[in-house]
Each structure stands twice: as structure tokens, then as C-alpha cells.
């Protein structure tokens, strides 16, 4: 039930919508607001002014360019799309109740919609050596620094007479992890060389946090994307890498299903060779494993050894899934572009670019 305190806390936000809640229910960072005028989802986020402006621009722009499968934002009574209170930003959307019947085929719909957004916003960028150089150097430096940290962790572990179970597990996979790191770096270098040679690279509007949790279904069963707070203009590979890195952890994951999902995406935006290489590079870099080591390093007193080892093993298994998936997508060509789904233009024009 809604307490008076909750009403007081959310009252100043809901005032902007002239909503008087009968009941408030917290669902993570979303508050379900039940009123006489209907049920709404109030999302709480942390965004700077620029981020807020960009976020609302993205939502409006997607509608303008013909992508309507986005959960709409309701304007306040003053015509704003977000409400800023202190350090928090709030925005209001319709509440779509979850329906298990829609869960099947959710991944396919998600990849299809991401592909459509990418196709609608795809733009071949004017080549800028500075941008490519900066992106490459920045990522390469970050990866090498991380690699160096992991090598140091390995050396320290090897010097111990009695290694912890976590350290033992890590060391037994160390060479495999380093091979993947080197593979990621090599493919990143290949991408850089191709960009330099071909003088091209493409950008799209990336959702930024592609996840099955960010696809919900309206009462008629039509999928809608939400949470564009981290949307950014970047290589199409960014969204794919974010999605597949997460997807390989799922129990029902198979490389064949992964390939099918990538094919669904590529019906809208077939990846260029260098983008495919960059995609494999992003996926191969074992950042999740390194993060597990960081967690061990900083929180070994708070979490049990068994928990930490399980977490590491899970990530190593996911890396193996990634390796198999990468091998498969390197072998098989992408599906032919369906004319019905083909982007009719690379972009509306420079000024219209989202």
C-alpha cells in the first residue's frame, strides 16, 4: 500500500502531471502509479541537463523518422518531458503489464527492432582521422592497461605458496584468457587499419543498453523499446556487443540461436567486414572475467570464496560461448538483404541526422 511518506516523496513529481496516486508500487527504478486516470510508470534516473535534452530529442526523433515502437513519454502539464528534482530526473510512461505469452520470441523482436532503428539512422560518416585515431588509441590503451593489471594479479598469485580457490581457477584459464585478449587487440588493429585504408566508418543511433528487459509489450502484444537514457551515436557494433555479451550467459543460449538473431539484425543492417571484425573484437575481449578479478580483489572479505569462484567460472563459460559464436559468425556469410526491409536511404540528410 502507498504510505503517506511515499505520496509526499513522489507528490512533487506527480504534481507536474496533475496525478493523484491511489497506490504506488515500486518495481526497481520504476514506480507503478495507479490513479483514477489510469496506471502509469514513473521512471527515476540520473541525467545531466545535456543528457535529458538528448534523451527527449532521441525519443521525439525516433517518432519523426518513423520508428513508433518506443514506449512514449507523457509530457508534464507544462509541456516538459522530464521532471528534475534535486539530482534525480523522472519521466512518465504508460504502464504495460507483463504477459508471459509474449516472452517467446522476445529476443527475435528485440534484434529486429534494434536493426530497424539502426537502419533508419545509419549514416556513413565523413572520415575523420582524428576521431578514428582517438577511438582506437583510447580503447587500445584501456585494454592494455587492464591486461597489465591482470598479468600483475597473475604474478602475485603465482608467488603464493597456497593459492586461493579463486586464484587457482583463474590461473588454470589464464592462457586462454590472454589468447582472447590478444585476439581482441589484433581485430581492433585490423579495424583501425581498414578504416585508414577505406576512409570510412558508419554510425547509427545505438540504444546503449540493449537487453530483453528493455522490450515490453503493449496490450495488443506489440513490442516497444524503452530506456533510451544511454542512447548514443556510435558504430552499430556497440549495441550488438552489449546484447550478445549478456545473451551468452543465458541458460538457453546456443551459438546457432545467436547466429539466427544476428541474421535477423543483418536483414536490416548487414555488417561490413571491418564492422564484423570489430564486433568479434568487442566480444572477445574478456572484460567480464577481468571484472570478476576486480571484484575478488576488492570484495574478497565481503563475498565467500565459493561465490567468487562461481561467478568467475560462469564468466569463463560465457567466454567460451563467445569464442564458439565468433567462430561460427566468421565462417558463415550474412543472409541476403531483404528488399522489403532494406533501408531506402542511408540517411535523411546531414542536418536531419539524429
Amino acid at each position: 500500500m502507498t504510505t503517506e511518506r511515499e505520496t509526499l516523496n513522489y507528490g512533487p513529481v506527480l504534481f507536474h502531471y496533475d496525478l493523484f496516486p491511489e497506490k504506488l508500487e515500486r518495481h526497481g527504478r520504476v514506480m507503478k502509479v495507479i490513479t483514477k486516470r489510469g496506471t502509469f510508470a514513473l521512471k527515476e534516473a540520473e541525467m545531466s541537463e545535456d543528457e535529458r535534452n538528448w534523451f527527449t530529442h532521441v525519443i521525439q526523433r525516433l517518432s519523426e523518422i518513423g520508428f513508433h515502437q518506443v514506449v512514449p513519454l507523457y509530457p508534464t502539464k507544462f509541456g516538459d518531458y522530464t521532471v528534475q528534482l534535486g539530482s534525480k530526473t523522472y519521466y512518465l510512461m504508460p504502464w504495460f503489464a507483463s504477459d508471459d505469452r509474449n516472452e517467446k520470441g522476445k529476443e527475435e523482436i528485440l534484434l529486429d527492432q534494434i536493426g530497424r532503428i539502426h537502419a533508419l539512422t545509419l549514416k556513413e560518416q565523413d572520415f575523420s582521422n582524428e576521431v578514428v585515431e582517438h577511438s582506437y588509441q583510447f580503447l587500445m590503451n584501456r585494454w592494455e592497461n587492464r591486461q597489465f593489471e591482470m598479468e600483475r594479479f597473475t604474478e602475485e598469485a603465482e608467488q603464493k605458496t597456497y593459492m586461493s580457490p579463486f586464484e587457482l581457477t583463474y590461473l588454470s584459464h589464464f592462457h586462454q584468457i590472454m589468447r582472447m585478449t590478444e585476439e581482441a587487440k589484433r581485430r581492433l588493429k585490423d579495424w583501425y587499419d581498414t578504416c585508414q585504408r577505406e576512409k570510412r566508418y558508419r554510425s547509427v543511433l545505438c540504444h546503449g543498453k540493449v537487453s530483453r528487459n528493455h522490450l515490453i509489450f503493449n496490450p495488443t502484444g506489440e513490442g516497444h523499446l524503452l530506456n533510451f537514457e544511454k542512447a548514443v551515436l556510435d558504430t552499430p557494433v556497440r549495441d550488438l556487443a552489449v546484447y550478445f555479451r549478456r545473451a551468452v550467459h543465458q541458460r538457453e543460449w546456443s551459438k546457432e540461436h545467436g547466429k539466427q538473431l544476428l541474421d535477423i539484425y543483418e536483414k536490416h543492417v548487414p555488417l561490413l567486414n571491418e564492422e564484423r571484425g570489430l564486433f568479434i573484437s568487442y566480444l572477445s575481449y574478456p572484460e567480464p572475467v577481468f571484472n570478476a578479478v576486480d571484484l575478488y580483489y576488492h570484495k574478497r572479505n565481503q563475498l565467500s570464496q565459493i561465490e567468487l569462484v562461481h561467478r568467475l567460472e560462469k564468466r569463463i563459460r560465457a567466454m567460451k560461448n563467445i569464442r564458439d559464436f565468433c567462430e561460427l559468425i566468421m565462417q558463415t556469410p550474412p543472409p541476403p538483404l531483404e528488399m522489403g526491409n532494406a533501408p531506402t536511404k542511408i540517411h535523411i540528410n546531414d542536418e536531419d541526422h539524429i
Binding site: L8, P12, F15, D18, F78, G79, L85
Partner: protein
């Protein structure tokens, strides 16, 4: 079509009926205030300061509620009509931080007003006229009157020096009256009910607000209010000089003179008592604000 029908068609409001015809309505979404504007440019100026001063602020001015189509007003054939929220509970002066935020954001918005509007000319203190009127009292040999004239002369000179130092600095353009009584409480935030008057250039409305604050609270609270304003709108540079110049200028001399009546000795004494109170209140304001600037200067120097 009546105004209520017009509003129900244009805005998403239902069940509207008058509470105070033709200014306040009951609706299904609470009470709403109507404002009528014959000058669209003035309306746009008021729209802008309300929208701009709200950005980033926890205080909410009575912004124009948008129509279904996103418009800020409807035309009833004679006037532009705007719809606003309405509240009754006074906010009071206890929450200095919230008032300071409101004034700070208001000043930020008002120095960069982009809507051109012919503001009323900044008033000039007519010292000679005041002296002329006070001659009538010269024979009464009122000590305080003589002292205040000497003091006023010095303050004018000092205010002019400050103004010259900040010459060419953009002055805020503000509503004529900014008052504590316009601050209302909705939940726990400050809801400020603005007006519809022609704007004025300069710190006059802020001077009057600070005096009102001082009279309702204390010099310490006034300094806290200035701290809060300063955290959002820097008073350590030229805007601060302009504010100090405004407070140093003995505007109250005119007000005091206007309080005097010479119809009878009794009325003269009564007027003089009011004069003394007003003069003293303004002296405390000037002293407190000067101390605040001095403390602030020292903090920066450290």
C-alpha cells in the same frame, strides 16, 4: 462559448466550475487560476521568466499550463487567457534554502532575458525634491530628520560610485513585486505565484524582498538567504555591486517623506515616528547586507 467551455475544450481539464469568478476555478485536477492578458508580448515575458527560473530549481513558479496542443494560452476573443496552478497554504520563511534557490534561479534567468519588452525606466531618486518637501519640517527641528538627510547624501554618493564600477553590466529584469506572501506550499516545495505586471529593470524588487525578509526574520536569516542566493547566482562580482548600490541608495527617503503630513502637530509627530521606523529598518538592511558582503570578501581572501 463561455470561458469554462473554452478551457475544457482546449485544456485537459474536467468538471470546471468557478470558485472566484473570473479568476479561480475548481477542476478535477485541483484549483486553477486564470490570468487575462491584453498584451501578448507581456504574456510572453511572464511565460519566459516562469519557465526559465524553474530550470534546475526545487521551487516551482506558477508556470503556464499547456493546452492539449502544447500552447501556452488561449484567446477568448478579447484577451489571452492562461491557466495556472493555485495554492493557499503560505510557505513562510523557515526554509531559507528553498527561498534562496528560488531567488538565485530567478536572478540567473532575469539577467539573460531574451524576450524584448519595454521595461519601465529605472527610477531615479529625486533628492532635491525630497529636500524641498522636508523644508516644511525644518522649523520643527526634528533631530532624526536632519541626521537622515546628511546620511542620505553620503549614501547617494557611495551608491553612485558602486553603480559606476558596474557600468555596462546587464541588470536583471524582474517582476515589480516579489514578496514572501506569494510563496505557497504544495507538498514540501515552494510554489511561487507570480503576477502579471510590467517588468522593471534593476534590483528594486530584490531590495524590497530582502527588506520584507529582514522584517519577518532576522539579520542572521537574511545573511543565510544571501548565502543561498550567492551559491547559485554570484554576488561577488558586478551583480553584487549593483545589488549593494540598490540597497545603499536611500530610496526610503522618498517613502519617508511621503509618510509625513503637516496638517497638524499630532499628524506631524505620527508621520515622523513612521519615518524613523522605516529609516531604521532600511539602515539595518544596509548594515546586514554590507556585513554579508564584507564577510564574503574575507572568505574569498582567505
Amino acid at each position: 462559448m463561455g470561458i469554462i467551455n473554452l478551457l475544457e475544450n482546449e485544456y485537459e481539464i474536467f468538471g470546471a466550475r468557478w470558485k472566484e469568478e473570473p479568476h479561480v476555478l475548481f477542476t478535477d485536477f485541483g484549483e486553477k487560476r486564470l490570468r487575462y492578458w491584453s498584451d501578448e508580448q507581456l504574456l510572453k515575458w511572464h511565460l519566459k521568466w516562469r519557465d526559465e527560473s524553474f530550470k534546475g530549481s526545487s521551487a516551482v513558479p506558477d508556470r503556464m499550463i499547456r493546452t492539449r496542443d502544447g500552447g501556452y494560452a488561449v484567446f477568448d476573443g478579447r484577451h489571452w487567457v492562461t491557466l495556472h496552478d493555485c495554492a493557499d497554504t503560505p510557505f513562510g520563511c523557515e526554509e531559507v534554502g528553498k527561498w534562496g534557490q528560488f531567488i538565485g534561479h530567478l536572478l540567473n534567468a532575469s539577467v539573460k532575458q531574451e524576450i524584448p519588452f519595454p521595461v519601465e525606466a529605472k527610477p531615479v531618486l529625486d533628492f532635491e525634491n525630497c529636500l524641498e518637501k522636508l523644508k516644511l519640517y525644518g522649523e520643527g527641528n526634528f533631530h532624526n530628520l536632519n541626521v537622515s538627510i546628511v546620511e542620505a547624501r553620503k549614501r547617494i554618493q557611495f551608491a553612485e560610485v558602486l553603480q559606476n564600477k558596474a557600468a555596462q553590466t546587464p541588470m536583471p529584469v524582474l517582476e515589480k513585486e516579489i514578496s514572501i506572501i506569494n510563496g505557497k506550499r504544495i507538498f514540501h516545495f515552494l510554489f511561487y505565484e507570480g503576477g502579471d505586471s510590467k517588468p522593471v529593470r534593476g534590483y528594486g524588487p530584490i531590495r524590497k524582498f530582502l527588506l520584507e525578509w529582514l522584517l519577518q526574520t532576522s539579520p542572521l536569516s537574511l545573511k543565510m538567504l544571501l548565502d543561498e542566493i550567492h551559491s547559485l547566482f554570484s554576488l561577488s562580482e558586478k551583480q553584487g555591486l549593483l545589488l549593494l548600490a540598490e540597497i545603499t541608495m536611500p530610496w526610503e527617503l522618498e517613502d519617508c517623506v511621503n509618510l509625513l503630513e503637516n496638517s497638524s502637530l499630532e499628524k506631524m509627530v505620527e508621520g515622523m515616528n513612521r519615518y524613523e521606523r522605516l529609516w531604521e529598518d532600511n539602515r539595518i538592511l544596509l548594515k546586514t547586507v554590507t556585513e554579508w558582503f564584507e564577510d564574503n570578501r574575507r572568505k574569498v581572501a582567505l
